[in-house]
Point group: C2
Chain length 402, copies 2
């Protein structure tokens, strides 16, 4: 029996993926660019075991036995086995690709974060399968077939997913474009908005936008090609203010085409807009003061939660600003309210206090996650981290190490 | 002394005006189409008196003396006087254009409705001035210089404001395209959303959209020309379902380009979206039942309030649906909650009750206004309706007739 345990990160797009050119292969209409987040605060974890003695493939997700019929998981598994079958092994394990697999996965995201858990989950699954079946090479197009944006979680730092041109999706791959430290000491604050009504899922939402939004044509044909070029240049030149402007513009354009959909896909709530508005006011204040590098940017995925990118020095000011504008519900301690990196927030200036008080809304956020950008999937070598018993290949019932 | 009292209606655009090509002359980037609403529920009222004995122009608005320095009022007044000076009078009052004017205006809108009061206000002012100075001909380009959309309130029924091509705006005029009864028994329900935070004014918002939204280019160059053509055809053919689809699409597209603005102009709130979503669900249900003429549509101006157009027979179902989904706050009686046309709502079917319960949000609406489409400005001949004393030319202190 061979067993491998891996973790994989969440990624947040700064140039958004919204719309497919091929539903089955999950090929996007446009390139996208993302930042991979640190796995210290959020990650998916997967243990895979293969053995010639296993009689069938089995799958456990978050401590529950699940069916493996899901075509997306099947596609990933088939592709890994196909690649394994073509590999040259040195004499032994030639037919490893035919062994059955046990898969055990968990997400360590704070509950209800509504974050892109499927991206981390599929990246982790595919990475672990690649390790256990001894498959080398670029796994991003395999992860892509699990969940489009999962292909970006295969790498750390800044990642570009090329839409590709091939009908079979062979060139629709994610490639790292800069390491996590490219913008030094970059931090991330995720504002988790208190749950509202259930929204359209992103697969369905994308399909409806492509089918019904006239503005979407402009996004794909005109805005995005030019914005992606500008974003690549901003990244290359480490031009943080431009990076911020483009990130904000692309998030708003994506949500604009969502609203232009019939029926409208509305993901941002009043609270989302209040966070965005606070960030604009903060940036305006800093620009007025001539401090243009003291900038932060927000981006929203297909959900209400704000993801804020901020240089560490600025986070010291932005975090207390957010706490002033969105104080925790009385029952919550500051530690429960701000998860992640422990930080000593600076006292707010009078000016910033006034700015926050202008849009103060207590209880509108569930909590904040303070984290960083980070690197790609990891193999955990400590056997204690395995989710499967290395003798039986069945889930470890006690697992305090998630 | 000559005195005239007029009322003028509110209008609601179904193809929206958003963006100017000339800020000073108020020339729009695109044609727009609107329905004029009944003056029974909402109107502006203005009395103007002119006399060779008045020593200066004076202005009272909603019982308060106001300065006449506002350049928009000045532009209207100058243009009316210019036209009056060119008129051929039969011997007497040749220099009527040089007489000073007293203007007294009131809006009878329910407070805080956030409805386009300036459109009704300027249409009324210009119409009354035209009457008192004896100016004939199309007054829509004069009203336009007060407030762009005011030009559409100069006519009843369905009205098209042509953007025009001339630099001086001479051909940027509103023309009636169909009478109020064009779609028989058409009713209007305005859902007044409980006040949220103050939003960007529409003049400033338009300017920012034109300056910063890439999607706006597509709206102006691609979507609108084709949508306006389709809308004219739908009106001509009395094709109600298509009229509804186009109205909804244009409202959402306008709010999409607002969101695509830097900083974003966000006018719709969670409650606005909840109303829109309910209407989509209602329409989907009726379409599934094969009853495509049983359709309603919504549209949102630069504010959170939903304006719903509905055939009278459908209103009997849609009004109780709205009341079920958005019940009045406990302190409010149904009569206070639904202003306007008294109606006997039909009991809700189980199906519709379920639909409303799925998105029920008590207290999210302040109240509803149930009204109709209607005709253009009117001259009130009853001297009792005058807001100015016909002897002194000063405001009547007691005015119970608003």
């Amino acid at each position: 029996m061979k067993t491998v345990t891996c973790t994989a990160p969440v990624n947040i797009a700064v140039i958004k993926y919204w719309g497919k050119r091929d539903e089955k292969l999950i090929l996007p209409l446009n390139d996208s660019i993302s930042f991979t987040l640190s796995q210290d605060e959020m990650c998916a974890k997967t243990t895979v075991s293969i053995s010639p003695k296993f009689s069938e493939d089995q799958f456990w997700l978050n401590d529950k036995k699940e069916s493996l019929e899901n075509p997306r998981i099947q596609n990933c598994l088939k592709e890994i086995r196909r690649r394994a079958s073509k590999r040259k092994f040195d004499g032994k394990d030639e037919n490893v690709w035919s062994w059955h697999v046990h898969i055990c996965s968990k997400n360590n995201f704070p509950t209800a974060a509504g974050l892109a858990s499927s991206a981390a989950g599929y990246a982790c699954l595919v990475y672990a399968l690649g390790q256990v079946y001894g498959v080398e090479g670029d796994l991003s197009p395999v992860a892509r077939q699990g969940s489009g944006s999962a292909c970006r979680s295969v790498h750390g730092g800044l990642v570009r997913w090329h839409k590709g041109e091939d009908d079979d999706g062979a060139d629709s791959v994610a490639r790292p474009i800069a390491p996590p430290g490219h913008f030094p000491d970059l931090q991330v604050i995720i504002c988790v908005v208190s749950a509202g009504q259930k929204k359209t899922g992103s697969t369905e939402g994308m399909r409806q936008t492509v089918a019904s939004s006239s503005l979407m044509q402009h996004r794909i044909k005109v805005s995005l090609p030019s914005r992606i070029e500008s974003m690549m240049k901003a990244i290359e030149e480490k031009d943080w203010p431009t990076f911020c402007d483009l990130t904000i513009a692309d998030s708003n354009e994506m949500h604009a085409v969502c609203l232009d959909t019939s029926p409208p896909c509305v993901y941002m709530t009043d609270t989302s807009h209040a966070v965005a508005s606070l960030i604009h006011k903060y940036n305006d204040l800093k620009t007025d003061q001539g401090d243009i590098n003291h900038k932060v940017c927000y981006t929203f995925d297909a959900g209400p939660n704000a993801c804020i990118f901020t240089p560490g020095a600025v986070a010291k000011e932005v975090l207390p600003l957010l706490l002033q504008a969105f104080p925790p519900p009385p029952a919550q301690t500051p530690k429960e309210y701000v998860k992640g990196i422990a930080s000593q927030p600076a006292p707010l200036s009078k000016e910033l206090k006034r700015l926050a008080d202008g849009c103060a809304q207590s209880g509108k956020l569930q909590y904040l996650i303070h984290t960083k950008v980070g690197d790609g999937p990891r193999v955990l070598v400590d056997p204690a981290s395995s989710l499967l018993n290395t003798t039986t290949g069945l889930p470890n019932t006690t697992d305090g190490d998630m």
